[in-house]
Symmetry: D2
Amino acid sequence: MPINFGIIGGDARQLYLAKSLEEDGHSVYLSCLENAKGAEVFPKVPLKKISTLCETVILPLPVIKGEGLLNAPFSAHAIKADDEFAKMLEGCTVLAGMTSKLPQTEVWQKTSPIDYYSREELISGNAVLTAEAAIAMAIQEYPGALNGASCLVTGFGRIGKSLCDMLHSLYAKVDCAARKKLDFMMIQNMGCQPVQYQAISRRYDIIFNTVPSEVLGEKQLASQDKDTIIIELASLPGGVCLETAQKAGIRVIDGQSLPGRVSPKTSGEYIKQTVYNILEE
Amino acid sequence: MPINFGIIGGDARQLYLAKSLEEDGHSVYLSCLENAKGAEVFPKVPLKKISTLCETVILPLPVIKGEGLLNAPFSAHAIKADDEFAKMLEGCTVLAGMTSKLPQTEVWQKTSPIDYYSREELISGNAVLTAEAAIAMAIQEYPGALNGASCLVTGFGRIGKSLCDMLHSLYAKVDCAARKKLDFMMIQNMGCQPVQYQAISRRYDIIFNTVPSEVLGEKQLASQDKDTIIIELASLPGGVCLETAQKAGIRVIDGQSLPGRVSPKTSGEYIKQTVYNILEE
Amino acid sequence: MPINFGIIGGDARQLYLAKSLEEDGHSVYLSCLENAKGAEVFPKVPLKKISTLCETVILPLPVIKGEGLLNAPFSAHAIKADDEFAKMLEGCTVLAGMTSKLPQTEVWQKTSPIDYYSREELISGNAVLTAEAAIAMAIQEYPGALNGASCLVTGFGRIGKSLCDMLHSLYAKVDCAARKKLDFMMIQNMGCQPVQYQAISRRYDIIFNTVPSEVLGEKQLASQDKDTIIIELASLPGGVCLETAQKAGIRVIDGQSLPGRVSPKTSGEYIKQTVYNILEE
Amino acid sequence: MPINFGIIGGDARQLYLAKSLEEDGHSVYLSCLENAKGAEVFPKVPLKKISTLCETVILPLPVIKGEGLLNAPFSAHAIKADDEFAKMLEGCTVLAGMTSKLPQTEVWQKTSPIDYYSREELISGNAVLTAEAAIAMAIQEYPGALNGASCLVTGFGRIGKSLCDMLHSLYAKVDCAARKKLDFMMIQNMGCQPVQYQAISRRYDIIFNTVPSEVLGEKQLASQDKDTIIIELASLPGGVCLETAQKAGIRVIDGQSLPGRVSPKTSGEYIKQTVYNILEE
């Protein structure tokens, strides 16, 4: 059954989301995306009319950027995600990424925003996209081959697991740092070498950090040198002591938010699939 | 037994070659590499003295660039690879990449240049580097995920084989175009779908061309669209009818000479290993 | 710090467990394993003395077999796992596999048996062993090649995931049946095709069942034929309607308890590692 | 265009070959296969009539077994592959496996037998079948897991390459012994460790021999022990010094002719594909 979707703000992913929804036979209205490439083929609606036209509204991922502003890099104007904004969504099913960043007001709570970014399937899909993009970065930034390179992956969550799998398949030599004993056996079973964070002491060609707290401090960086590259995948503050890295001349490459930057098309399609699953439940 | 190597001209690979030779205990003298980053730690010698100092001289890959000039992008001056140049190498073992491009003069023939680029091990190593770098390009340029993307590899030589292997490992869906019936079974045995060049008729997300003659003409490009990207890996003239591609709005991305551009370190090390094998034989 | 371990009953895995513990410098005493090959090199102790000699006692996996009997196929006598038996373990740390099958008496409860089989690391290790052994069975029993064979994996738990991974790596074509929408994206990201149980309608060369309740009933088996083989990996009653399978002439191969049957050495080592982790906590 | 094929003698592969030819719409007549399971559905013809009925005759692989006898284990009688036999094939296109074993008589030469076993595509397909079956053997015979097992592959021909690929994918640790320096780089690029035959000195859990001359002699076996298993894949005399192995208590498992034993269906289909390719050329 076709649905009228309103997509408000967001980055390139939301455009691909719009296209993909339309290909499935739904109607899509855009708002706050005037300057996005490809937006011209969709009907634009003023925010005020959204709730009249659309049953379901999809807000950006993350929904908020900066101080209470809607994350809308392609909007001609800055949009406050305040109560007035929330009121315009009344009566719609509201979906947003990282709803915890929304104002905790009564009006917003009445919209009952559903967080699509907290969903298992999107997290898992994004992990694959992140790992892929991180590997592309590693190949391009490291002057040697990935094949045969000695790599360290810190963290054995979804991104870490995906990295271990892909790196092994591409014939890198992989150590993976984890905390839980339970993970050690699984790391070994993936053809990789488990290592405790405190025991990181070998030199690596490439380090992929997935842990959002300092796991690569003075001790761990002591064995690295200026030919080591670190790809920082974790959200701020990241896992690398930047001061130590800088002193040692170790390059730390920004690998944050890769799915949106490198694979907006599939990111958008994953959001769509997640939205469908939410609406079906 | 330590050898005195002279490295004359070439790109970043030759610097890594120099470093790697030195780490193995050899002496390395550089010439025509004045402006290369990292060259300052090696003794520079004027061309005239090379044959006095060095037993073995390694010329660039490819040895010639443009009209009879030595391929020496980091040299302060253009160097003619003429008889005068050849004479200065007298008495040395001379190794060069693509010797067929050297002048066919008597003086050059007396230097008996050995082509390290024609060696199986270097070709095979470069194929891996090319495939890796092409995959990184695909991940970064294609807005979707490589995972699940529908890919076409044209050609089932070394680069084609390596691409099929890596793409399958990264969960892409891979068709591979080949001419020989004999290759069809091998392609299938790698988890890929073989296709005749004349039968290419599906739309692909990503096409990797490895064939240096036009295999992607009007017929084959007819089923592609402006979201298809083609990564051209073959040497000139390449395998894509550029005119047709341009009309159809299909992006053709330059993927030529990837080992030197993306993995100069390992490229240099592969050259070293090849040189060792040649000298031992 | 060396520990005195008592190993009572069990199958070949316990012998490898004993060897591996001893190689790590511990002392190992055996009981109820008289007829096991390789048992002769370990000191045998009567059950009564176990608690005097050993700090830690490891009971079999599963601990109970049949009506209240200790699972002790290599014992000269049947051993009742009754209160009298439990009393002899007093004062020891008691570890056992599947403690839920032990008598729920006060005496047994006083021994506080710790279930090593419920541990994540052992379950995860056993999943890998099961998948490996199932693949070996498939290669040997199916008269075609696994490479290119059309396979169905039912269930996307640990064993299902491991099977999908290995089958894809060996170039089979893999469908995986799952219930949760959430799993569908992950299955696709592993290069496999997700399918709902109700929608199983293609013919397969090989089916691996990992679900311990009937998921392969009349409907699903209707599209299979006498050349299809099913490898039943789930514990009783399994996932296959045996009556329907028999009528259709479909072979159902017993793949239960594979880790103990095919890889007792690694199974024993996994138990050891799990025991270490338990004792450390 | 349908062809009348005559299949004379051979093992289970020829039955699958017959089935597969028939499924493609050809007519198939059998001879000297009376006792083969599944043969009853095909028309049987006496040898004398073969040339009247069939344009193309497919002899077994290998065509000869024992002293000048046709390889026909399912025949009710022993068949001499003599001139009289050859005369009955007059006028047919004759295909056979290992034609070098046929009598070198004038009559046989007049039949111009084409060796389908010397064809690249069949050799390459059989290598995959051999590697698969060898891996199944290893999983079942080695009491530990293949995952993490230390393996040695001797030889880097087609079977060796296929083994390296599959073993790495299944997370074994793989050394590969080769003679040519040229192979060393390729072995490394497949995530394996190259080793010279003379330098084999580590202990391995599992050894796969693919070399048909003694490469595992006293020196190489000295570091193995009674828990090492060797899977002998090479044709006689094989690569293992059996006397040394026996003294050391090392198990040598017969892995000869695996495609026919383990995967007769796909073997037969590969023969069919090869026959088609031959007839088309």
